[in-house]
Each structure stands twice: as C-alpha cells, then as structure tokens.
C-alpha cells in the first residue's frame, strides 16, 4: 500500500482511473445495480422510521460505549472466548500473530474483514511467516492480484470477468474462462481444500452483542461459516464501535444492513457465535479469541465527528456517490473509499494524509440520503473542509484567492471592480493554462445585471 506519511494524490489517481474504460464500465454497472436494488428493497418499508430508530440506538451505544465494551468482554469471557483489547493497529497485529505462533500455525483461512485491512494484517502476518488465505471470493481475487479492496462490500468490483479469467489462468494455472460461474467453481474447489485443512480461521464481525458476548457475521457465500466453525481456533478482529446492546436489537440491523448494501432482504447466512465450544456441543471452535480494536475511536467519540462511528459499513454511500462512481475505490488510496472513506481516513490517519481526499466530494448530499444510520456525511465533510482550512492545508493560491474573494463579498465597490477586471482580463486568465477550470466558465459580461437594473 502507499507510504503512510505522504498525502494521498487523489486528483492524479482519479485522472488515471478516468482513463481506464474497463474500470469505468465496471463501476457504472456496479453502482447502478446496487442503487436500483437498494431503492427497490426499501421501497415498501417505513425506511425513515427504521433509520431514526437505528440512528438513536447507535448514538445511545456511543454515549455509553465503554460500559458496553466492558459488558461484552465479561459476557464473551463467560462464554469461553478470550478477549484482547488492542489500542492500535500494531497492538492488534501483534496479538493475532502471537496467538497463531503460540499454536505453531503457519497458515490461516480468513473471511472478509475491513478492519483487518485497516490494520494491514495480512502483510504483517506474511512477514511473520504466516500465510493468510482470503476466502471471500472478491478478497480471494484481489489477493491473487496483489491489490487492495476497491469497495467495502464487493472488493473486486473494479475487475471485469475477462480480467478475473486472465488472472486465474495466469496465477492458478487453470484453463481460461470468463464465465463467472466457472470462475467461482475454480475458487470453490481451491478454497474447500483450505477450509478442510485449516487449523485456524480469522474473521471480522458485523456486530458484537454486549449482553450475550456474541459476535454476528452476515455472509452470502458460506466462507464466513467455514472459517469460523471448521478450524479449532477462531480469531475475531473487530472495532469497538460495532457493539449493540442485546440480541433483541439485532433485527433492526438485519432489516437495514443487507438492504442498504446489496438490496437483499437478508444475506444467505447470518451467524451468531457465542464463545467457544461447550461440552456436549458438536459445533464451535475449541478456542476463540476476540480482538477489540480501538485505533483512535475513543478519541473520535468525544468529538464533533462522533456520528461517523454510527457507520455499519454497508457501502450505500459509496454506491450513491457521483465521484466514487466515476473513479472507483483505489483512487482514494486508503482502506476505506467513498464518502465514509474520506471521513474515516481523515479521522483515523490524519489530515496530513487525507487533505486531498476532501476535494473528492461535490457535497451533493446523496450519501447522507441513503445512509441507513443517518451519519450526517455532508455535514462531516463540510466540517473537515473547514478544519483543513484552519490547519493551513489548502494551497497558498487558494487561500489568497479566498481572502480576496472575502474582501470583494464585503465591499460592493471591490466586487464591481473584480467583475470588471474579470471581464477585461479573461483572455489572459485563460492563457494561464486554466482552460480546465476557469476556462470552462463563460466570460464575465461587459454590463452586469446590476448595471442593467440600476
């Protein structure tokens, strides 16, 4: 992945993406399909009421998060899981690696977890001599390709079937096919062997339930279930804001998450896993570890961006975003793309890294409209832009232009002068290579509207 100390060059990334016609066609197909399916899936339901309820529930949890985390830890431990608190990415990686090393495990199967991408787990484990096999089809594809996910729900959506076919033929040595059913069959065969021989499975969790100490995983393929019930060791990594109070609260999320993500009423599988295997049971890991990741979230909770932590990682905002639609996820150069990605990258990785990402929004508001938990994304993006200015991270030219603009807006005389100067100097301004910016605007008129009516 990119050097974490330098800022993400969004404009250059976007320009590259725009020249990739395969990518553009893939993004157009995917985002249109998802937005249509989501709209159909919510049409007959009291969506506003649901959104308000889950938003209120998420805020309640955030208000009492440390109590809920404590309660979860107690109940998870009671059910036989070992709970570890990881302050940051490094701590989480080290905890997971040491659990695996303690068991002399050199190969693990993994089901999709965005938070594991956030902590760059796979690269670290690889360096520590542990092979990670991604088992979600999209993650499997990008792992073979050596890329990161470009969407938080469908990680390989930027690739078309021919690209996947070529990739499999080259890297897996199978016969070329561009039929998704055949390609899925290839992955299924390879991964089944992995599942059956795996000594450990790593998963994320969509939610963690405080009252019962359970984790909840939504999947369609069945790989999540394979990773969490076949191996004798199961490690879960999840971030602390994923807590919900009790199992009775789960249905509200079941109704909103799949609909918002893929337009499905519910995913094919939904597993509620509570601790390790009990005597008399035939299902469950013998040993279960839950790594609770903070990585900056406690800092965010008390601040003005706390509502971002309501996010349930559905991806609806990505699908609705005109910019994301155009350029896909890799242009954002970060774990999380799209509107939620801009906010999270700024909050988790800092403004020095993320400041260019703040350009990647037209503030159209489509994201805020579709968020199932009412994260006020446009408001948060605006605030981050203001923060960017306060931190002096916009270009000097822009700051000077805005300062001049400020003076003109306050003084009619300067404003009129500016308009006249604009009219007169327009040919020269265009000559400064500003064709793509100011050059796309018409020339200021000779006689302004004010002059015509006064």
């Amino acid at each position: 992945m990119s050097d974490s100390s330098s800022s993400i060059p969004f404009r250059a990334n976007a320009a590259t993406a725009l020249r990739n016609s395969t990518l553009r066609a893939a993004m157009r197909n995917a985002t249109e399909t998802f937005t249509t399916k989501r709209a159909d899936a919510v049409a007959a339901f009291p969506l506003e009421e649901w959104r308000e309820q889950v938003s209120a529930m998420r805020l309640h949890v955030l208000d009492h998060l440390s109590d809920y985390v404590d309660r979860f830890e107690r109940n998870a431990a009671r059910s036989g899981a070992k709970v570890h608190r990881a302050k940051d990415s490094r701590a989480a990686r080290e905890i997971i690696a040491s659990i695996l090393k303690d068991h002399s495990i050199g190969r693990v199967v993994k089901s999709k977890s965005m938070v594991s991408e956030e902590i760059h787990l796979n690269d670290y484990l690889q360096k520590e001599g542990i092979t990670v096999v991604e088992t979600d089809l999209g993650e499997y594809i990008i792992q073979i390709a050596g890329e990161g996910p470009s969407h938080i729900i469908v990680p390989a959506i930027h690739k078309d079937r021919r690209q996947v076919g070529k990739l499999f033929a080259e890297k897996l040595g199978c016969e070329y096919s561009d039929d998704p059913a055949i390609l899925t069959g290839v992955a299924k065969k390879v991964l089944r062997e992995e599942f059956l021989s795996a000594k450990a499975g790593i998963s994320g969790a969509n939610f963690a339930v405080a009252d019962s100490g359970s984790i909840v995983i939504f999947t369609n393929e069945g790989n999540g279930r394979m990773c969490t019930t076949l191996p004798s060791l199961h490690i879960v990594i999840l971030s602390i804001e994923k807590l919900i109070p009790s199992l009775a609260d789960l249905p509200k999320f079941i109704r909103l998450l799949p609909r918002s993500a893929t337009g499905q009423m519910i995913t094919s599988y939904l597993s509620v896993i509570t601790g390790s295997r009990e005597p008399g049971e035939s299902t469950g890991a013998q040993e279960m570890h839950i790594v609770l990741l903070d990585n900056g979230r406690s800092g965010i909770i008390s601040g003005e961006y706390r509502e971002m932590l309501k996010c349930i990682r559905c991806g609806a905002c990505l699908n609705a975003c005109p910019v994301y639609r155009m350029v896909g996820g890799h242009a954002y150069g970060s774990t999380y793309p799209g509107p939620m990605g801009i906010v999270l990258t700024a909050l988790l990785e800092g403004m020095e890294r993320a400041y260019n990402l703040l350009d990647a929004t037209t503030l159209c508001g489509a994201c805020g409209d579709v968020c199932p938990v009412k994260v006020p994304l446009p408001k948060l993006l605006r605030r981050l832009r203001a923060s960017r200015v306060e931190q002096g991270l916009t270009s000097r030219t822009e700051q000077q232009a805005m300062a001049g603009f400020g003076k003109m807006m306050k003084s009619p005389m300067l404003f009129h002068l500016g308009q006249t100067a604009g009219h007169v100097l327009w040919p020269a301004i265009r000559g400064f290579g500003l064709d793509r910016t100011l050059g796309r605007m018409p020339r200021p008129v000779f006689k302004t509207f004010r002059e015509r009516v006064s």
Binding site: A14, T361, P412, P444, F449
Partner: protein, 242 residues
C-alpha cells in the same frame, strides 16, 4: 406585493439575462421588485471550500444589505437560497445577535420556483412554449431545500411544450462549486454523463434552477458539439408568459 431580488453573483457577472427574465416573470404576476444596492455574493464558494471566516463576511454583508428592506427575498438559485436559509443561521451559531438576524433573513427567503408555486401559484396560470424540455434537479435545491415538485409543476404547465423526465435527474452534474476547479477531470466526466442522459431524452432544451450546474452542463454541450440549449428556468418561463 413587493419582493427583494438577490441576483446572485453568477447571474450578475455571467448570466444577466436570467436576472432580466426573473424580473419580467415576477412583474407579470403583479410583483413589484426591489433590488437592494450593494448586494454581492451569498458566500457559497467560500463556504463550500471550508473558508468559514470568508463566508461569514459574505453573510454579514448580505444580512446588512437586506435587513433594512421588507418583504420576501427571492433568489433564482437553489444553492444560494439554501446557503441563506440553511447555512447562514449555522454560521452564526455562536453569535446570538447575528444568529437571530440570520434566522429572520432565512425565513424571508425563497428560491424562485418556491415563490412562483407557493406564493404566486404561477403553475395554475400556466405558460406557453414549444419544443421538448427536460429538467436537471440540482443538488442543494433538491436535497437541502427539498424543492422537488415545484419546478416540475411549472414546466408541466407550459402549454405547447413537451416535458420529458430526465433519467437520474437528481444525480450530481459535477459542478460542486470549487469542485469544478479542483477536480476538473472528474467534473467534466460527470458533466459528460449528465449530457448523455439529457441526449437520451431527445430534449432540445435542458433547464434547471442553478447556473453553476447549467454552466457545467453547457460546457459539456460545447465540448460535445451538441445542439441542446441550456436555459435557466426563469428564462424558459419568461419566454412563455400568457
């Protein structure tokens, strides 16, 4: 009745004919128009860039220009009207005196189609026209002001013109204020996509309530060499006064 017209900086500087059309339109319905001198810009460009200090300056000036006047404030722009109605009070949330002034100004403010439909009932009178028209629903007008039906009611009341719905009408055209300047490649790609949907309707005219959007769409039309006309809704309606 008498209203106060805020022309907007784009109209004043680049599209004065829209301002003139707005005046013709309102006068036709018996409205007297005041045009407070000293008006400049609502401050939206600064606000969207995160320049809070500069947008406050613009807001203070706007408020000082209009507070001495009476009657509704009418603005032929969704983004400017939303700036005044939604963002001005927010800008002064820590200044009770200014906040109160901002709220009064906000409550007097109407976007043009809001005023035409809710106050003047202009859609009941209807208009005249010809050709095939489609409508781009700009973002702040649609999502921040929740003005969705009003432009449609007005356009559908044009006798002789065929109104056709634009697919994905409320999808962003890529203007986004400073976005157009900071990410021009993406802005142009979005405008191209918007133009594709416009061309799919077979319309000869595309209209909307915001010159920022119309300017961006107009640029796409120019680059494509298309014959589609771009007109502000004020101009469309002013051409068809009964």
């Amino acid at each position: 009745m008498r209203i106060q017209l805020f022309g907007t900086c784009l109209v004043d500087t680049m599209f004065p004919e829209t301002g003139e059309a707005t005046i013709r339109l309102l006068r036709h319905f018996g409205v007297e128009i005041g045009y407070p001198a000293g008006q400049t810009c609502c401050g939206k460009p600064a606000e969207s860039g995160g320049y809070t200090r500069e947008s406050r300056k613009a807001a203070e000036h706007f408020i000082s220009v209009f507070e001495g006047t009476d009657g509704p404030i009418v603005i032929p722009s969704g983004s400017c009207a939303s700036m005044v109605k939604n963002h001005y009070p927010e800008l002064f949330k820590d200044d009770p005196l200014m906040r109160q002034k901002a709220e009064i100004i906000a409550s007097r403010t109407y976007e043009l189609t809001q005023f035409l439909v809710h106050v003047l009932k202009a859609h009941e009178t209807g208009f005249l026209g010809n050709g095939r028209i489609t409508y781009h629903a700009s973002c702040q007008l649609t999502r921040e002001l929740e003005v969705r039906e009003e432009p449609l009611l007005l356009l559908q009341s044009i006798d002789g013109a065929e109104f056709v719905h634009l697919p994905h009408a409320d999808r962003c055209c890529g203007f986004g204020g400073i976005f157009m300047a900071k990410l021009p490649e993406v802005s142009m790609a979005l405008a191209d996509e918007k133009l594709d949907t416009i061309l799919s309707t077979g319309a000869d005219t595309v209209t909307g309530g915001d010159h920022g959007c119309l300017m961006n769409i107009g640029d796409a039309i120019k680059r494509r060499g298309s014959a589609v006309q771009v007109k502000h809704i004020a101009a469309v309606l002013a051409e068809g006064l009964r």
